[in-house]
Symmetry: C2
Subunit: 258 residues, 2 copies
C-alpha cells in the first residue's frame, strides 16, 4: 500500500470528468453510472475486443486506458480510424447490426456498458454531445489524411489528443500520457513508422515537443495549432470568393506568422 495502486475511483476519474464536460450530470445519471461501473470489465493491452462483422453491444463506455478503432485489409495494411480515450462512448446503431470496424485495446483497458440514456435527460444529453464531438473529430481525421502533409498530420493528431485529454482533465500544461508506439501513430495518420519517426525527430529538434517514457509534452501548442492546420479546418465558403488566389485550392502555402 505505498500508493502505487490507485483506488478505483482514481482510475476512472478522467472518464467522469469527461462525461461531465459533455453535459452536467445529475444525481440519477451519476448513480446509473456508478451502477454500470460496478459491472466494469477489463481487456488486456493489444487485445481485440470487438471484431468487424460481429454483433456489437449497444453502448460501451471507456473508463480507463486507450483503445483504437481499426480496419485491416487482407494484405495486412491497417488503418486506425480513431483512438478511444477515457470517457469516450462507443455506440452501435442497432443491436442486430454488425460492427463495421475492429476495436482493439491499446493499453490495458477498463470498460463498462453505457447506462441506458432514458434514466436521465442529462445522460442522454451527454450521449448526444459525445456523438456530435466524435463526428467532428472523424471529419477532422478525414481532412487530416486527405489534405495535410506528414508534418501537419502528426502535429494535428497530437493536438487533437491533447485537446481530448484536456476535456477529461488528463493533461496539464500541454502534457499527457501517450501509450502508443510510433507504428500505431503511423497507422493513425496514414504514414509509415519510419517516416513518423523522422517527422517526430524534426519536431523535437524544432523544440515543438518532448516525448519520453510514455509522456508527451507539446510546446507552444497554441502556435502549433496555427501553423499545422489544426484550427484551420474551420469554415469558409466552398465556391464563393476564395478561388481567386489559388487556382485549384490546395497549394501548401505556409502563411508565415507575422
Amino acid at each position: 500500500m505505498n500508493g502505487a495502486a490507485p483506488a478505483a475511483s482514481d482510475i476512472i476519474h478522467g472518464a467522469f470528468v469527461r462525461l461531465n464536460a459533455l453535459a452536467p450530470l445529475d444525481q440519477t445519471a451519476m448513480s446509473a453510472l456508478n451502477a454500470a461501473v460496478a459491472r466494469a470489465r477489463t481487456v488486456s493491452a493489444r487485445t481485440e475486443f470487438q471484431t468487424e462483422g460481429e454483433v456489437a453491444p449497444r453502448v460501451t463506455l471507456i473508463l480507463n486506458g486507450w483503445a483504437a478503432r481499426t480496419r485491416v485489409m487482407e494484405d495486412g495494411r491497417r488503418q486506425i480510424i480513431n483512438f478511444l480515450l477515457p470517457g469516450d462512448l462507443i455506440f452501435t446503431q442497432a443491436a442486430d447490426q454488425l460492427a463495421v470496424a475492429n476495436l482493439t485495446a491499446v493499453t490495458d483497458l477498463v470498460i463498462c456498458d453505457g447506462p441506458d440514456p432514458d434514466v436521465s435527460p442529462s445522460l442522454a444529453a451527454a450521449y448526444t454531445t459525445s456523438r456530435y464531438i466524435e463526428k467532428s473529430f472523424l471529419y477532422g481525421q478525414v481532412s487530416r489524411l486527405g489534405r495535410l502533409t506528414a508534418q501537419e498530420r502528426v502535429a494535428d493528431v497530437l493536438l487533437e489528443l491533447l485537446e481530448r485529454h484536456e476535456m477529461a482533465g488528463l493533461a496539464q500544461a500541454g502534457k499527457f500520457a501517450i501509450p502508443v508506439t510510433q507504428e500505431m501513430l503511423a497507422d493513425a495518420v496514414g504514414l509509415t513508422p519510419v517516416h513518423v519517426n523522422r517527422v517526430l525527430q524534426s519536431a523535437r529538434q524544432a523544440g515543438m515537443l518532448t516525448w519520453k517514457g510514455g509522456m508527451i509534452e507539446l510546446h507552444g501548442w497554441s502556435t502549433l495549432r496555427r501553423k499545422c492546420g489544426h484550427q484551420r479546418l474551420r469554415a469558409s465558403s466552398f465556391y464563393r470568393g476564395d478561388r481567386s488566389s489559388h487556382s485549384n485550392g490546395h497549394e501548401r502555402a505556409e502563411s508565415p506568422t507575422p
Copy 2:
C-alpha cells in the same frame, strides 16, 4: 412535352427506392414522406446550403441530385468528406448544435426535411440503417485516404458510388450518372486534379472504365473490387445474412496472390 422534363415522381424515384432498401416502409411512413416531399425545396448547383459553425436543421433528405460534405482550410485546401446521394439523410445530433462541416450542392438539388421518425417504426428503422451505413462508408473513406494508393483510391470511391447508386436503383450494369469534375473527385480522394486525371487515363487504357458525358461505366468491377482494395475495406453485408464466403474479412495474414 417530348419527355425531356420528367415528372416529379420520377425525379424522386431513386430516393424512395433507396429509403425502402434501408427498411421496408409502411403506409404511414410513405404518407409522411409524401407530405415532406410536398414541402421540398431546391438548391442550385454549387451553392453551399449549410455552413460549418451555423445552426443546422434536424434531418434533411436528399431527393434528387448530389451534394458534398466538405471542410475547407484557411489556405484554400479543401476536403470532401463524403458525397450525399438521392435517398441519403443528413442528420444533426441536436438542434442547438453547430454544423461541423459545410454542405454544398454538386448538382441542382432537391431536398426536404426528413419526416419525424416517431410517426412510423419503419421510418425510424430506415433512419437507423442510414446512420449505420453512412458510418461504415465514412470509415471506408478514412481507410481509403490513409492506406490506399492513388489508383486504389480512385477505383475504391467509384466502386462505392456504384454500390450506393445500385441501392437506389440508379445504376444499371455498372453504369451511372457521375456529375462531378475531376477536381471534385480529387478533393474527395485526397489527390491533385492532375494526378486524378492520370489515374483515370491509365484506368481507361486498362479497359477498367468508360467516363464520358457525365456517365461512368465500370467494367469488370467485381474483379476491380478484388484488385483495388474495395471489398477489402468493409464488411460487405450490413446484416447477418450473407456472411457465407468471407469469415470476417480481415485476417492479418499475408496472403500473396500467387
